[in-house]
Symmetry: C3
Subunit: 437 residues, 3 copies
């Protein structure tokens, strides 16, 4: 029996959302209640990757039942779930007993008799160590596949990076993947687990908050890029702090780390939406060190905060930023405002620019200037500004990432078409699907 | 003859302090005077690791005498010294002559005839290059051991990371340690040497101050974690700047780099104390970008700075942070203050929370909410706030690091028991030694 | 035929400037016009490394002609060009076709019949992947050399780091360089290409600006240091933003990344000048988080900004920084100002300090205090401050980098002697060439 599971393997070039759900809870009539809830999610509430979590989210004593629950729930409703399904099983680099348990859980969940495996895309392995520990897990995947008549390599393997050893393993992937004695090509996501990483690194902060961990985020993103994998950041614990969660994603995106863990359907909505370009473009101004969005009124963009003030003084202007006062003539003021402002393009704007560049390229030009103009208003004083940006092939390709992401989402998530059309309008969506191909 | 030196090898899981002392000074009646002073240190003034420094701190012409001095002073008083003793000898990746000198210095210091070696825990090797250079040093350790009838691998080896080559060597430790042709399992501390690293990297700052070097600190901490070693940051030159030294340690701790070089007994006291939890918990407020400690008066915590002001305005409140003015109702104000404040738990608080979680776990609960409440007072206006934090097994373990450190200190440094009891009270110390085991 | 090209290979220990020029432009009477302009540059406008760019700066259809143009222009005027010449050819880790084209371009440019190769120092290879891809390029260099009767290894190879794979390759250089099956010792510069790196990492920023990429800059600098190579940062697109370009260089220098790409002769002047010490030393003050230069009037240095104010109040002083007000006595004020200020030494100052330390060393002292004094004036109130800094051998060597750089520039760029003498005076230049040797 050969199953076509590999048709789905690595279909996704992007993963925005990695949503975990406990697999079995004591004291409920139906211990799989949360799994049944999660598998019913659709649209922006449904994650790109759903992770029935048979590790930390589920009590140790409930994990055997959890594995059975996963198989049962996925067998029933997995075919209709719009994202990929990657259960997390137990594993620990320091415990053969835990590793054996993880192997058993995979065998249970992937058992074709239970009817779930056709909709299981892979497994997530936590607490991995150095590369040889990853190979042990890979070998169990291979055994699960041969034991259950699945194609070798068809189950994707993702790992949680939560130790210094795993951080180092990531630099060895290019050397190890593709060797005849393993099937590490099955690797799919590198997911950071900051809480356990903090423990393994023995880091301390006064308030017990998580350190920033800039480097592990960079290293994961770079290793994912080098090995053709997908980087995903760990959970953001303060569920109420929507602003902080979005801020974290913005930071991550500048590192090329486009996916993030979600703990609730609310976080899934945020994380599915955040990496996509905004519906409307807008201007930012650097208000004494903080980027502030300007208020739009037609072509005029008004600053209403207290950190910047502007007044006319004869033919000149007095611009005050924080406690710094500058006397400027009109040209100097325009230049200063140009330096202080920047434009965040909408999906529509990006598509426009790309189309314009594509047309120029076809006409034989290698580089063109893209102009962006606005009227900035501060304290009732209005100034027109206009900035040019050179686009060449490299700019075009580097700025294409949000479009490629959009296209990947659109192709793989028909259940989000309606939401996308509502956010962006049918027309923009259609043009976004055409551009850059 | 077999010596039981390995009983001490890697006894310490943590090293807070790495204190260097010149080994021989010209023009003194007793050239070993500073060594005799340092070996007499006790309590918080005594470092976890004492480093008689036969390299940079001692003039080249005095180093032969320095090696003899180390042997003599450690033979006399080493048995009573409360920390470990790891002399630094000379070494350079680019100079066979220097490496040979280092070998001779080790042979001298470890000579059993001189009676010091029983209290020598290992040696510190500066200026190492890539991993093959580390192996040359390791081979000399082995020769010193066999020549002097010590057990192979019984002398710990620590290195100073002060070149790009050494930075790269750290990623190879897991592959190289444990190979039959070396004894690199003797590795103990990875110590950063920022001054020479700056030279090797050819970095320039306008004022000649040291660069921040975030990445080498992360890379050292991560490599230490991956290879079971201990990371130690380099010297902080501005001895008068106690605040800056403590700030540096706080930064380091968030990277998992819990040890630091100390140049004076005063710095040793700071660095022995800083990583331990405070005696009393306290609230912080984010005052326009700077974390400020609030003043306690019973349950009320008062902000006395100039960056935040608060006044009532009818049923509402006007909260001003820097130049930003917000009109808020009571709930919004409470939420805003909750976001702006955070609590730094005392040792007592941490022990309380851990005990509470352990009790909950025994009662079958996997996660509990820890509540922290306070009254915040700004400009005479008082607001009660209360924050919940979810603790699960991972939180528990990640927050355990300061306790594990405390326990390691308590077990290995009986000479600090009195100081610890004075800081924390006998009762808290006792409970801290029980929790988490 | 053996050519003495290797006499120039790696002559330079430093590269400040990497200046690219399109090799062939359609629609011009002379498609090589820009090349002819660039090769005529002299003095501060001439880069340390000139890169006729047969890749991104030149349209694909013009690259065959571009290779011929390079050969022709360098044959004519290369002997008089004051910097090194390293043309960039095409390459891509994912395209054998592009790699073959790059090989052909190298064969064309280095053809001795064309008379250019004596003044070609090497080639720049863009878009490299992991180390095995670098070896493919190296092998083509070897073939070009043997085919054209050049000494093996005589053509330097530089690469553009613009992928996660290349980032990882850099950690393998020490293991791979020097192996008998390659000539990777020909490696010279590691140049970052942030635009394509951003694409490869799939990073997104809201405005489309480039991410900071601190880690790739550190990793490149560290790998260059470990392998004896030279790190160069990528292009700074906003050509008008001279301040931003200089800010970027300052950041880079603190990472040991002393070279940067230049897109215009104006940028070349900035980048040739920036890493050299200033002509006149000056004091900085930390004005509420921003470093501000004080105005000199003899020994008095005056703060004229709005962020700090100072007034006498009886015997005491009130110092206000931002919104923080401090009442201080004279000693406290002096200490506070000492902490807030720092001195940027001129070339003259650095030479003075080094000479002083060298004299002290000869007199048998290992460490001396260097004193720096000034009168600080704020709001008409004047305070004398004086700071001591300990110099030992390590300080001396770490602070020597700008001098070593100066000496490298002076030795290799006779065409800049006049400019340097004008900036610093003949006397200072002469002493700077003597010190530290």
């Amino acid at each position: 029996m050969t199953m076509a599971t590999d048709k789905r393997l690595h279909d996704r070039k992007f993963v925005r959302t990695f949503f975990t759900t406990p697999t079995a809870e004591k004291g409920e009539d139906d211990s799989a209640k949360k799994l049944r809830g999660a598998i019913g999610l659709r649209g922006m509430q449904a994650p790109d990757v759903w992770v029935p979590d048979n590790e930390d989210a589920t009590a140790p004593s409930m994990r055997e039942e959890g594995a059975e629950n996963i198989a049962e729930v996925v067998a029933e409703d997995g075919a209709d779930f719009p994202g990929e399904i990657h259960p997390r099983v137990v594993w620990h680099r320091d415990s053969p007993e835990t590793r054996y348990d993880g192997f058993q859980q995979m065998l249970t969940i992937a058992d074709p008799q239970k009817g779930a495996v056709e909709n299981i895309d892979g497994f997530v392995i936590p607490e991995v160590g150095d590369i040889d520990d990853w190979k042990k897990a890979d070998e169990f995947f291979t055994m699960v596949e041969t034991e259950h008549g699945l194609e070798e390599g068809s189950l994707a393997m993702s790992v949680i990076i939560e130790s210094g050893a795993a951080e180092q393993a990531m630099t060895k992937l290019r050397t190890e993947m593709g060797k005849p004695d393993n099937n590490l090509q099955r690797l799919f996501m590198l997911v950071i687990g900051e809480v356990d990483y903090t423990k393994d690194m023995r880091a301390i902060t006064p308030t017990g908050s998580l350190p920033e961990w800039h480097e592990i985020r960079h290293n994961t993103s770079s290793a994912a890029s080098a090995a053709g994998l997908i980087g995903v950041d760990g959970p953001y614990d303060d569920i109420r702090d929507v602003e902080g969660y979005n801020e974290r994603m913005k930071e991550n995106q500048a590192k090329g780390l486009l996916g993030i863990w979600s703990l609730t359907p609310g976080q899934v909505v945020e994380a599915n939406t955040n990496p996509l370009p905004p519906q409307e473009g807008y201007w930012l101004i650097d208000a004494d060190g903080t980027e502030v969005e300007l208020d739009q009124d037609g072509e005029t963009w008004t600053y209403r905060g207290g950190d910047i003030s502007l007044e006319e003084s004869g033919d000149d202007y007095v611009l005050t930023v924080g406690v710094d006062e500058m006397e400027l003539d009109e040209d100097e003021l325009r230049q200063e405002l140009l330096d202080m402002t920047s434009y965040v393009p909408s999906l529509d704007d990006i598509v426009d620019s790309m189309e314009e560049f594509e047309a120029a390229k076809e006409a034989g030009k290698g580089a063109i200037a893209m102009t962006r103009a606005a009227t900035i208003s501060i304290d009732g004083v209005e100034i027109d500004i206009s900035s040019d940006r050179m686009w060449d092939e490299a700019t075009y390709q580097a700025l294409q990432t949000p479009i490629t992401l959009f296209q990947d989402v659109y192709e793989n998530r028909p259940d989000q078409h309606e939401d996308l059309a509502e956010i962006y309008s049918e027309d923009v969506v259609e043009r976004a699907m055409e551009v850059g191909s």
